[in-house]
Symmetry: C2
Subunit: 740 residues, 2 copies
């Protein structure tokens, strides 16, 4: 057992080394023509400038956050309300602050390194596309995998490291208490993710919308045309939004859900301990180990990314995904068998571990289900996208109405799938028969935690596929910008189309994992609240009871639930509006350049790309503050006014509302995007069978839909993922503040 | 006290007589030029045809529903689970079925009579506009008031009648049991309202969108042009959607909330009874009496609708609204003082009735707040609409993005207002110190019920203002269609603009009352469930406990909550898609007429208006079935699978989700509509100060937004109001089905 736990650092370090190997491999590739190098350098400089400024800002915010948290926790967590009374006051405050900072630092590091590699992979992918499709796929996927491995490995090593440090080196901390002490890590990760996703999401879509409006619409020049001063900002945006943003999002998911699962493991630990099962602490370590096996599975899968030049590139990527999934099933079986050792206890006819193995399979299956659901709703060959494309024939209004109907509709199968996953993993967990001293079942909740962990096993691979998206998108931009030959551009176009699909899949995956995790995270919140209240009752307090129910029929809980549901809309409104404002700044600047530098239009003058990048950066960072503060402040204000039970209501209903709204925004946006592509590929025909392609009113209508969908699917939607998890981590950390 | 209860039938009958007087008055007015009479007749025929066919369909559905309910309740409500054990089985089934049918019949009657008058008021308003603004306002407002008074009076008389009948003529029924037996009335009203709103909403917007697309966009002829065969269907649609639909919506609100409040009054009755206060049954009758005073206040207010020819017509209407509100405050004070007679009991320093009087004031204040909030977000002079208009300068995409941001934003102030209203009325109610035998406070919940009743006092007036909208809209259409002189059209245009505002206000009012009522209605659900479970426990059952908490941390409740939140989106998706499909049928038919009847374009051939009306009618009725069934089936399926506690979760979170989504759709749609009007009025200027009015690209972009907003604000949004209340009534009636 001791040995099995060492799988965690070993797998983590192996993944980091493997990421370095992949990075070296990518860096050693050909960078193509001098024109490609030039534009690649320009994108890289813009991205570096943004990253530097953004992470300076976020770092400062995180420092302030850490100080505030340290002070607040030190003041609030007196002996009476501390989850670990022996550490009450300053020690627990400092430990939470440190955990917060480590979480924030790891999240920032994975974002920065991922970006570092992805902005160097784009030009190399474009260069590889001159000779080979498979070669280009490999460069892009390896570049993406650097990000994927680092994000997951840093999250694993970070949680393991801080957990081990607190458990080993701090006196008074037992293995059952340590999980509660590291929730600050998850909060730090969420905090950084929120601003990374918001800032990146606002930047990328403002640059996209702004560049299109001022270039395509006003000046009448093509997309990605070098005369448009905003075009570099647009290419930079693909990296900072899709790559750094989603990286931070999934870093946070894995960290927060891992910690939440460990907290739930404490209840199982207590049962295992009193039942005299071998290795009771394995129930707490389980999430770490199962994720380590997921990482190892993904490393193996990277060697299966190969195929023929004539193959659909999506098949090549799918091959690796299925290898990861199948190996993960094996890893899951091994981990549950070895770690959930109950000395042979049989429950409902099967060994205990088998029930949890099945629960983990539910998680893996949910992940596969969401991959296909997202494809159905956003890929061009199916009914929803075709419907939107058909509606474009009667103009922009019907295109928007149809896309909205599709976006709304996607909540149905999403909610049903999540509901089935929750109910079935809970039922499977219940069958394991873990009943605590008070006679309550804890296996059910732990079943949902195992399902979430099963789902997270494939995160590194999913994230690699996601980062594949912006890299190939950029490779296409580089090819276009450097006026490469048609053959190269044909390959980059094919890769770009696949990248659009993988980006959509990741969002589906992220939303599904957020929903499964939600139930786990607020169970952890309830456990934490009860740990504190239990301590108070033991200390003699009589005017308080354990939180056994989050009662929606209580007016305070109901109003808090209403606030949580509203928060998803209000936050999205601020995020969408921020895109509009930032885009305005870009439009004003590009117009100025067209006016004051008349040589731009006939290629005799080079537009000032850097200035647009700089303006976009500053505007995006300015605009991310308001939604960020609203997200952080709302749960705190509601908690202070209405108490700890009400906050649980806000957390749960806020999660439901956020998950559904994100589904609408992501899938609606994705469907609009692909309806435009469907028309551009010549699939739409009029009543007489003539193709309605580029340049027709139907295409113009579809462009409107695509533009509307941009801030939905790339700013507001993904930011909602982060918001949902931030709600969970912030309430976990600040729970003592809400108990009076 | 006995005397005070007689206020109910007296006020109800007075309101009916007053409505007849108003109807006679309207009918006696001048019908204008022969051209006006001709077009008025055509609209009337179309509306009659739709009403006849729609209410035949709905009537059949209601009959089937009544039979099913009778059988289900008779089978399910055995002695063990019946809320009134003495009536278990067939008697309670038949009583519920009768209540359902009476509710359905009253709802249908109020819709039909309201439509009857409103389609006759339009042409008379147009005729009056030839000579006088105030005259036209009076005709339209009196026509609208017929609908307002009948809806509210029928709901009051219906609830009172069936309550009195069951309490008086059925042996074994006590005054405390009767409220539970009449919930079928609310369900019947909801059932009819759902289909009336869905069918009407689909019809009106399909006709609007279809007529615009095929006329304005394809054929290039103006709006309301007589050559467009769909134009009559469009004018008919204003009546069947806005007038009959909203009438059914508010009929249902008043009925369901009244019954819910009476159920909550039962708990207060028990306290009053055991405390020996005079007239304990007054706590149950209170909602009826306070509404009766609201009706009387509205009758008086009708005489204050007068003003000068140069005045803003909105001021004339506001005058009446404020008179209604102020008189309602008086009526509320009188009712609480007389009916909540506690023999002088003082609680927290004030007589008990004073606390509830304050709670009622909260309701009235909330209604006023929503009137102003809606105005801020949808009227052209404020920031949100200006913002959307400005965004139209960069095209349709930015117009849509900006409108979506505004729609999302409106949830903030909506949720905050509702939260404050709920918390404060609950707190005020708690201060009254009503504590039941088990030691639980019942005053808090009753406080929210009183607030809801306070809010509903002004319903008749609000509904009159609402119906004013379609009447003036139609009057404008009649004037345009009959090519009246410019002076007349100027007056009808002014009235139309006011009508747009009043229609938006009503939606804000309806949503606010639905949210306040939600809390009341699921408290009633819990009371009903506990009445049944209490009977079972008394009968010796030991494996069941009273429902004291709707525990969101229970996986079944959480999944049901997720389903409830999803239902709002999925239902809206079906409703929006239904509009698109119906509009397609219209487009095909009008295209056919243009093709096969070439004389239409040079006015030598009369388009076949009736055929378009008929096609729209059939398509709308066909398309309303799917969303209607989803709405009815979802709570039943969830209840059967997950049980009575889970259904409460679905009900509560479904309400939150439905209310917020309706807010987004209603206000977003209203803001888009008025952004277009803002541009048409010449308020938008380019950088050089030139007006960007009709015919500019900015206007075209705003038209796209307006068209998108149409099915949002007039089909999906209002249908969500009904959905929310249907969830409450269906679960109330079928509660025994979910208890096993």
């Amino acid at each position: 057992m001791e040995l099995l736990i060492w799988v965690v650092p070993v797998a983590g370090i192996a993944a980091v080394l493997f990421a370095l190997y992949l990075a070296r491999d990518v860096m050693s590739r050909d960078t193509g023509t001098p024109e490609m190098v030039a534009v690649g350098d320009t994108i890289r400089e813009g991205a570096d400038a943004f990253v530097k400024r953004q992470y300076t800002t976020i770092g400062l915010l995180a420092l302030v956050g850490a100080v505030v948290i340290t002070v607040v926790i030190a003041l609030v967590e007196t002996r009476e309300v501390a989850d670990v009374p022996a550490l009450a006051g300053a020690p627990i405050g400092i430990m939470t602050g440190i955990a917060f900072l480590v979480g924030a630092a790891c999240s920032m590091a994975s974002g920065i390194i991922g970006m570092f590699v992805s902005v160097r992979s784009n030009v190399r992918t474009a260069a590889a596309a001159r000779t080979s499709l498979v070669g280009a796929v490999q460069v892009a996927m390896r570049g993406g995998a650097v990000s994927g491995f680092l994000v997951v490995a840093l999250s694993l090593l970070g949680v393991w490291g801080i957990f081990t440090a607190y458990e080993t080196f701090v006196a008074d901390v037992t293995v059952a208490e340590a999980p509660f002490l590291i929730v600050g890590f998850g909060f730090g990760a969420s905090f950084v993710a929120l601003f990374a996703q918001l800032g990146g999401g606002i930047y990328t879509k403002a640059a996209d919308v702004g560049s299109d409006l001022v270039g395509k619409v006003e000046a009448g020049i093509p997309e990605d045309d070098p005369r448009n001063a905003a075009v570099i900002a647009d290419l930079v945006g693909d990296n900072v939004g899709d790559c750094a943003g989603r990286g931070a999002d999934l870093f946070e998911s894995t960290a927060a859900e891992n910690i939440g699962a460990m907290i739930l493991g404490v209840a199982a630990f207590a049962i295992a301990d009193s039942a005299g099962w071998p290795n009771p602490e394995a129930w707490i370590f389980f999430p770490l180990v199962v994720r380590a096996f997921g990482l190892l599975a993904t490393i193996v899968a990277m060697f299966f990314i190969r195929g023929s030049e004539t193959e659909n590139p999506m098949n090549i990527l799918n091959r690796g995904y299925w290898v990861t999934t199948i190996l993960s099933v094996g890893g899951l079986g091994l981990t549950t068998y070895l770690m959930m050792d109950t000395g042979g206890t049989i429950s409902n006819g099967l060994p205990v571990w088998v029930w949890f193995f099945f629960a983990g399979i539910v998680g893996l299956a949910t992940s596969v289900a969401f991959v296909y659901i997202t494809q159905f709703y956003t890929a061009g060959t199916f009914r929803p996208v075709r419907e939107i494309a058909e509606a474009s024939r009667t103009g922009a209004a019907t295109n928007i109405i149809s896309g909205t109907a599709v976006g709304f509709e996607t909540t149905f199968v999403t909610a049903i799938s999540i509901g089935i996953a929750l109910l079935s993993s809970h039922w499977l967990g219940q069958q394991a028969g873990l009943v605590n001293a008070a006679g309550h079942d804890v296996g059910g909740i732990f079943g949902t935690a195992v399902a979430t962990m099963g789902m997270l096993m494939t995160t590194a691979y999913i994230l690699a596929m996601d980062t594949f998206g912006p890299i190939t998108d950029n490779a296409g931009g580089v090819a276009e910008f450097s006026r490469s030959e048609a053959h190269t551009r044909e390959i980059t176009d094919r890769l770009d189309a696949v990248g659009n699909t993988t980006k959509a899949l990741t969002k589906g995956y992220a939303i599904a994992s957020a929903s499964l995790a939600a139930f786990l995270l607020f169970s952890a919140y309830i456990d934490k609240v009860n740990l504190i209240i239990g301590n108070q009752i033991e200390a003699g307090r009589t005017d308080i009871e354990l939180l056994t129910s989050v009662n929606l029929a209580d007016v305070g809980v109901f109003v808090a639930a209403l606030m949580g549901a509203m928060l998803a809309y209000f936050f999205s409104s601020l995020a969408i509006r921020a895109v509009g404002k930032t885009a305005q700044s870009i439009i004003v600047e590009v117009r100025r350049q067209f006016r004051e530098m008349p040589g731009i239009m006939d290629y005799t003058q080079r537009p000032d790309y850097a200035r647009v990048v700089d303006i976009t950066t500053r505007a995006a960072l300015r605009e991310m503050v308001a939604p960020g503060l609203v997200a952080v402040a709302t749960p705190i204000v509601v908690g202070l006014l209405l108490g700890y039970q009400a906050v649980a209501g806000l957390l749960m209903v806020g999660t439901i509302s956020g998950v559904l709204l994100a589904t609408v925004l992501n899938n609606g946006g994705g469907a609009w995007d692909n309806a435009k592509k469907y028309i551009e590929s010549g699939n739409l025909k009029d009543e007489d069978g003539n193709v309605l392609g580029k340049g027709t009113p139907a295409h113009a209508a579809a462009v409107v839909g695509d533009t509307v969908g941009d801030p939905f699917k790339d700013t507001a939607g993904p930011s909602l993922h982060v918001l949902v998890k931030l709600l969970a981590t912030i309430t976990l950390v600040l729970a003592p503040l809400f108990i009076r």
